[in-house]
Amino acid sequence: MKMIWSKSAWWYLAAYVAGGFMLPTLPGVSEASAGDGESLRALVEADWTSQEERRGRSPAAPEATRDALERASQLLEDVRRMPDAPDLAAEAASLERLRRESNGLDGLDEMARLALYRKVCSFTRGLAFKNPLLGSRPIVFLKRRRFICQMLHEYLGYYYDYGDIAGGSVYILEEPGKSFATRDLIAGRLPRGNYTTLSLAYDAQTIYFAFAERAAKKPDFYSSERRCFHIFAVDADGENLRQLTNGPDDDFDPCPLPDGGIAFMSTRRGGFGRCNNPWEPLPAYTLHRMDASGAGVRTLSFHETNEWHPSVLLDGRIVYSRWDYVDRSAANFHGLWVSNPDGTNPIALFGNYTTRINACFQPRAIPASNRIVFVAGAHHADVGGSLVILDPKRISLDHKSGDNRFEAIETLTPEVCFPEAPGWPKSYFHSPWPLSENYFLVSFSFDPLPGMGPNVKRDTETGVYLMDRFGNMELLYREPGISCMYPIPLAPRPVPPALSSALNPGLGDEGEFVLTDVRQSHLPLPESRPIRELRIFQILPKTSTHAANQPRIGYANAESARMLLGSVPVEEDGSAYFLAPARKPVYFQAVDARGHAVQSMRSVTYLQPGERRGCVGCHEPRGVAPPDKRLVALSRPPSRIRPGPDGTQPWSYPRLVQPVLDRHCVRCHNGTEGQGKSTIVLTGEEAGHFSRSYESLKPYARWYEWGGASISGTVTRPGHIGADESPLTKVFYDLAHAKEVNLAPEERRRIYIWLDGNAAFYGTYGDEEQLAQKRGKAVPPPVIQ
């Protein structure tokens, strides 16, 4: 997948040239409108037929009826158990009769079997809509057309001006199950454009969605004509349509919060992804919040690439998806993260340490449950995939590999494989809305998940359904040529608790970390190497350029520029207490007495201004509560970060490493031959994109990356960070060097810091700044952080 940019280039070209948007007609669905009962029935029966064909058989096959009876029976038993179940004695009797009728199944002819099958399914459908969890309230949903490529582009208005894919709106399905009658809530009040992401206020009075107008002709990304998604609101009765956000940034995924505000994803954070084609910028978008009126916009997440799909858990925290690829594969880690509604304490929940599910999308808390439903999706496709239920109580990591274990995961739709892990599904789900652990409103498509990965270039059509875990799927609405997504019952729902925001204004633009014991670690830290300090690194989001390795930062593939902010002491008991800058994506390394990092993070965290955050350990197992002991670090004021050597803010190999080489190495390592000389040249003249010595040292360095040269893939193992792994560090002690080369401790540390900092060369992305760095000049840290 390293050549993604060229693949996607073909894609954009194809989409651009293709022009009009055409959808293959869904087999079996008639073109007739569903206005009358007869055609609704026909559509529903055709849908049942499609469902059986998906199971690999005809609806007239005897197993089809037998399975349908079994599903009906499980449904009846479950609905009867509900506290506010209606009287179902009549239904039980009907089911008995149908069962008796089906005893003679094998003796019936095909037509009779089909008729019986449809009788059973009609029974089930009638029963399904008596479910008290659904009530008879209308359902709000979106019709939308998507730009097809990856989940990254799907929410950026810019890409929707490729080809002509405008269309969609917000709809109310007035009588779910009984009729296909819908009401267009926008009714032409918005211009030609596209819709994405729908949500509903807790009191069901306001509907939120994102809309992007279409430009007259395809604008350049940097032109002022570029169109973005923005968040709109409309009352549930269609009145008072209003735009909540505007400006040159994409805003989408509106998520009403218990305190009355709205969380959403936005590109306002600044910065770009690191692995796209050269002419298609892909801005980072992260979690933000605003007031109900659209005022008071604030960035909550300072993560450096992309996030999606926030929703509120029953305990009031926000769960969402984060694309995490600092020094790791760009195509595998899109896990579920949780944070407080004020942006404090972002923490990985599930999926950050596994490739078995490529992407965890659209998470939503299941009512009256502790579990979360989400869509197992993919990087190289639009959002969609298999439905999965997560039990947070059972989340754990494998104690050898550090990978996410799957005890916490229940696959709700096993017939749909996890996209890109490694195959592609022939049908898929999208935007599940859980009613309980057993019942869900879903979007579902009989057609394959579209995207560049599965090589399905055109959008495929989803309909909205009422689904249960017994295998029943009842069609609510479907329309040929467009997808129906985000079904939400138009009914008030309980508001999760509002959480207080405990930020200390006295800390200004800083926050505090308290670490109880650095040695509390899921993968044990080597006991022979006690931790003396923490290093704090800052990851810099990509600024103007956005293609992988354009420009190159160092040896590692598609890596970020970074800075070492400095270090803070760790006490004898493993505790630390220090101030750190807020609003920056940072990560930590635990460092031993020598100056080698023992453990390092490859996911960033960040503080809100005034946040005081306690950490138990250095990636302790999730179930570990903090220890009941006094912390030595708290007996004194918080440490201030002590900056590292010159050449680390931002990263600069010529300033960090070259001076050491000049002083101690080049007298022999000057490229000449002979006694006491070496052809491994360690002088600092420019060579290609880097310098001579940097190129020479490559075989002697080890780093983490998205690619085969990475020290490890999914999980970082203690004792295997750059300085530990790189042959260079052993060089100082070998026969050739031990007597001759006498580095001062500070100089040794420069080498270790360089290696632990992923052996990078540059700390900036801009051409001019890189040129200055190459020439050994100091440059200031970048503006976008």
Partner: protein, 615 residues
């Protein structure tokens, strides 16, 4: 919030299933019931309920699901126990001059009263039915009563505030749960303990110290095979600054397992889940077949049902060094493992509010739902057990004070339900620990203050950093429970706290100052104490530097605390370094900045202390 209002609505609106009150008690005009403790007769058919506020015992016919009779008491009950022959019911009257009321169950009335100590709770009958043990909570001792003569024959001193007790299977030992820790709070180990009494020798033979941070012990039971004792309590992470609640950062909720034969602590398991606290564990009982340990959670309104065999197997494997969970591969890991009970324990939500006393009958679990005046029932044997609540009487509308008391004990106000206000302030008082709140920086913990009288004596907090108790209550909701609550919740809590009445000191003799205390009263004035501690509130509500500040707190002026009920709020001084009042006035007052005490004789000190502790 909506759910709590819903509770109130439910209580007001429910007009179905009225309990039939037999006998002479009428529902009209009776206050709340507040069921606290339960006793089940041998057949499992009749449940006796001690109802605190109503001053009565209700007799609940379990098959009919109705109260068949109530027996009035002269005072508020603290606990009850049935005689082994089922003929008598022993109910403690939890007053300063406490008594055990002996009820003849056939006659349905009290036939005698046995005087015991101050606030007797938790009566426990010996296995042979001949002896009754009673926990005198505020005397810090146990009364031993000969049931034949109906007389107290011995008093045995335990650690502090005994609140529950259980007799071993062989009758030889009485295990007593002490509610609070004793000793100074500024050290590295602060925890309550279980006192083990040899029933023949009538003396304490062992003090089983629990895990650091164990406080608020509520109940204790012995397993049916006699090998283990189980104790419910809070496990406070008090040494850490209160920066967050996640993953048990402030308080966790625990069950300690004691080895009966060895009389030692075997281990402590956490009752919480990683993202969901199981606040304020209270009643604990095993099912008679030994299969389950059941625990009520007064703060999160649930019952935990733990598979006992699996629990012990898992503990044994952990002790043998096996990795039994992500977080545990040794016995020492268990008290910090929030995932230990996954797969071993089911949590059942109750319909009622504030479950306290708990008992089991066959596969059924009963718990006293204090604030809804109901009995929660769960049949653990059913495939999908669901709790229901049996009303004990017609539901009354909640007064603001009652609501406040309910909210104070309700962990649903708290993020992820880790704790309620009562976790650190049991009964509105104090847990005996030092906590590092953030209102005065980090790394400088202060001793928990009692909330009693705090509304009358502003400013609030040890440093006086909160203008008044009202803002302290709101700060607690915001900064300790990390919740945003409607103002009326805090208003109700204020009212509840203001309604608290002082418990008369156990140092009083028949409600009056002893002669030593009288003498001490004079010294109190002469030594200058009355200047900052003038009666009746015993605080001038000013900040003073009494020379107690250390390190970062040097020369800090602390808010003068009230001395009313000071007899129960040890340890003393802002960092709890003085385990006793005596220490506060002597060892920690070398420079006489905290009253002129250095020149007082031993006897004078003792008298002064007696006076202060009599308030």
């Amino acid at each position: 919030m909506k759910r709590l209002v819903g509770d109130a609505m439910l209580l007001i609106g429910v007009a179905c299933v009225l309990a039939i009150l037999g006998g002479n008690a009428g529902a009209v005009g009776v206050d709340y019931l507040s069921p606290l403790a339960l006793a089940l007769d041998k057949d499992g058919k009749t449940l006796y309920v001690a109802e605190v506020t109503a001053k009565q015992v209700a007799v609940l016919d379990l098959s009919a699901g109705k109260v068949s009779k109530t027996i009035r008491l002269p005072d508020h009950p603290g606990g009850l126990a049935l005689s082994p022959d089922g003929a008598s019911l022993y109910v403690t009257g939890a007053s300063p001059r406490g008594r055990v009321h002996v009820i003849d169950l056939e006659e349905g009335r009290i036939t005698s009263h046995i005087p015991v100590g101050h606030t007797p709770v938790a009566p426990v009958v010996s296995r042979d039915g001949k002896t009754l043990y009673v926990c005198n909570r505020f005397n810090n001792n146990i009364s031993v009563i000969n049931l034949a003569s109906r007389k107290e024959v011995a008093r045995i001193a335990v650690m502090r505030e005994p609140v529950a007790a259980a007799v071993t299977l062989n009758g030889k030992y009485l295990f007593v749960a002490n509610h609070l820790p004793a000793g100074p709070a500024d050290g590295d180990y602060v925890a309550a303990a279980v006192s083990v009494i040899d029933t023949r020798a009538r003396e304490v033979v062992a003090t089983i110290r629990l895990h650091n941070g164990s406080i608020g012990l509520r109940d204790i039971c012995i397993s049916p095979d006699g090998q283990h004792a189980y104790v419910t309590h809070i496990l406070a992470r008090y040494p850490l600054p209160t920066t967050q609640l996640d993953r048990g950062w402030i308080n966790t909720n625990a069950l300690s397992i004691l080895d009966v034969a060895d009389q030692r602590l075997s281990n402590t398991v956490l009752l919480d889940d990683v993202d969901s606290g199981a606040a304020n564990p209270w009643g604990v009982a095993c099912t008679a077949d030994g299969k389950y340990i059941c625990v009520s959670h007064a703060g999160s309104h649930e019952v935990s049902v733990i598979d006992r065999a699996k629990l012990h197997q898992k503990l044994a494997r952990a002790a043998a060094g096996e990795r039994v969970s992500d977080a545990t591969s040794s016995a020492g890991d268990v008290p910090n493992d929030l995932s230990f009970l996954v797969g071993l324990r089911r949590r059942f939500k109750l319909e009622g509010n504030g479950p306290r006393g708990l008992t089991t009958a066959g596969t059924k679990v009963y718990t006293a739902e204090y604030f809804t005046d109901t009995i929660g029932v769960i049949d653990t044997d059913r495939p999908r057990p669901k709790a229901r609540s049996l009303p004990l009487a017609e539901q009354l509308p909640l007064t603001t004070v009652r609501k406040g008391e309910m909210f104070f004990h309700d962990a649903r106000l708290c993020f992820q339900k880790w704790q309620s206000c009562s976790s650190c302030h049991p009964g509105g008082r104090a847990d005996g620990l030092n906590w590092d709140l953030l209102n005065d920086g980090m790394g400088n913990p202060k001793n928990t203050k009692s909330m009693f009288l705090s509304h009358k004596t502003p400013p609030a907090m040890i440093t006086g950093v909160r203008e008044n108790a009202e803002s302290a209550v709101r700060a607690g909701i915001e900064h300790i429970q990390f919740a945003v609550r409607p103002e009326q919740d805090a208003v109700a809590i204020d009212k509840y706290l203001k309604s608290l009445r002082p418990v008369p000191s156990p140092h009083l003799l028949e409600g009056k100052l002893s002669s030593a205390a009288e003498r001490g009263g004079k010294i109190f004035r002469e030594a200058g104490c009355a200047k900052c501690h003038p009666s009746p509130l015993y605080t001038d509500m000013q900040r003073h530097n009494v020379g107690t500040g250390r390190d970062r707190e040097k020369d800090i002026e602390f808010d003068t605390p009230t001395l009313v009920e000071v007899w129960r709020t040890a340890p003393f001084l802002y960092d709890g370094r003085a385990a006793t009042m005596r220490e506060a006035l002597t060892r920690f007052n070398k420079n006489d900045k905290h009253g002129a005490t250095s020149q007082l004789s031993e006897r004078e000190i003792a008298d002064l202390v007696e006076f202060v502790l009599s308030q």
